[in-house]
Symmetry: C2
Subunit: 313 residues, 2 copies
């Protein structure tokens, strides 16, 4: 459906999976009159041009943001301070500056010092993605039925809250459900639902590839029995994830501490042959799964390929 | 396709997902002249009868195995010693005794003392399953293109190796690819590709449900970003998995030790802000994923729902 543009001139800094998906949806539905695409690498910019993702292309972020009423940072979060420094003086009055990073407190810390008073900083996080990367990976329906989290600071001005409203309208047009959340709380929630799962997946895939007595080809051959899911998660973009862990350190370390404590308890139960503790733990964890299914958030895979022998004699 | 029966009288002890799937395939393709279904719980036996899974139904395992040329234990591995004790004296000469458990050394330890000299013990493990359980969960194509591991002891007699051959023929007719493996090596390979992933998934889902500052509904709401896969794994049958951990203790504890050491290294890198170590680790783990895709073992999900911002500015 085509609708009247929400923004006059939208500037996408970074044109990977997320940036290109935003561009494609804006194009499809006419959500911005002009789309400016900016990325540092020449090959990526050329590819974006070939894919017709924007109207204006530049490798200069300071040029890119000139005259834009919305700037969206779609690069790994480790780049934000540097980008903020380069764009600050070039931002138009009333411009909404947002991002798509997976951590939010650090985004504020990195960008805020460089933002002039006349712009509105509203960090954002689309909880959406695939394991593919680059401008070719984007598709216009990526954000459909996904959560989009906006994390303005608690002391945000009325004007900034109006910007939150406008960004909500924009992301709703992209298909998302919107939630407004405190940035620190965001970082703790995502630490447990996303960051720690990724760290653990990266870790176990690393452990498996370092074994001497079990070959890599055996790991691959028999990966259907649980491991394969971890390899998919551990195939995620290394730069993006490095930056997530470096920029959500406190919440990640805290959750990791709890994870390790709990794992020690299970380990001790295995060592001591404490079947009751294992059974109770394994039963309790089914509840969250039921919640996910009840919430209609899961499409069950009919033949997932894990080891199951379900009947008790 | 219907073919001449491989076994005259097959006895399935336990009729959950795996047992019922074997029964349905045997029925479909005429792989056994007679199918005996045995399970302890009356309701399960009644349900198996309603589903027409067998020809003979009994809650007595000693009756069940009488005259069978193949007995398959399809119950959690914790039951094997007790079942072995009850069936030993009733097994017919030349009978092949096998199982579908996820650990293999323990199966030999539990069953062998009860096996008369005139039967052939050939432990087996279909690397297949879903997260569903019970006799209604079975389907005849569950084993298609899955691995089936047989783990005879290294000193197996010629007759036992003939039994390995016959079981291979049987499982090939069920659609599986067959591999013969040393039981201890099996337990180490599966510890890393299956048991540890399950323990970790159970653990993190437990950690998440115990948090005070992040609610269960938030965990469910934002589970798309990595956590959801873990909840699926952690929804696996608690009895089966309790028994796996109790019966593969040594390999599980060893692999868990390595996992924890590696995790400490990543944790330290997060604490120290060592981006290079994180990046190198996250890059290395992509190799195994490529191996899995190259081996054609993965159907990519087009929209997996994780956080990805792939483009570097």
């Amino acid at each position: 459906m085509s609708q009247s543009p929400i923004f006059e001139r939208i500037c996408l800094i970074g044109i990977g999976l997320i940036g290109s998906s935003i561009a494609l949806r804006c194009r499809r539905d006419g959500l911005a009159k002009t789309i400016v695409v900016s990325t540092r690498r020449k090959e990526t910019l050329d590819r974006a041009r070939q894919l017709n993702l924007g109207d204006v292309y530049t490798d200069s972020v300071s040029d890119a943001v000139e005259g834009a009423d919305c700037v969206i940072l779609c690069t790994p979060v480790g780049t934000f301070s540097s980008i903020g420094q380069r764009i600050g003086a070039h931002l138009a009055p009333g411009c909404i500056v947002t991002d798509v990073g997976s951590v939010k407190r650090s985004v504020i810390d990195q960008l805020k010092p460089h933002m002039p008073d006349h712009v509105h900083l509203v960090p954002g996080h689309p909880v959406a993605g695939t394991e593919y990367s680059g401008p070719d990976a984007g598709f216009s329906t990526l954000f459909d039925d996904r959560w989009l989290l906006l994390t303005p600071e608690s002391n945000a001005s009325e004007e900034t809250m109006a910007a939150v409203q406008k960004l909500s309208e924009f992301w709703a047009a992209l298909g998302s459900h919107i939630d407004v959340m405190d940035p620190d709380h965001h970082d703790r929630v995502l630490a447990v639902t996303s960051h720690i799962p990724h760290l653990i997946a990266y870790n176990i895939v690393g452990t498996a590839s370092d074994l001497e007595e079990v070959t890599q080809s055996e790991v691959i051959k028999f990966s259907a029995s649980g491991f394969r899911d971890f390899t998919r998660i551990a195939a995620s973009d290394p730069v993006m994830w490095r930056d997530v862990f470096l920029h959500n350190k406190d919440a990640v370390l805290e959750m990791l501490g709890r994870f390790s404590e709990d794992l020690s308890q299970l380990q001790r139960a295995v060592r001591n042959g404490d079947g009751d503790l294992l059974f109770d733990h394994f039963t309790k964890t089914r509840e969250i799964r039921r919640g996910i299914i009840d919430a209609g958030q899961e499409t069950e895979l009919p033949n997932f390929g894990r080891d199951v022998v379900q009947e008790t004699d």
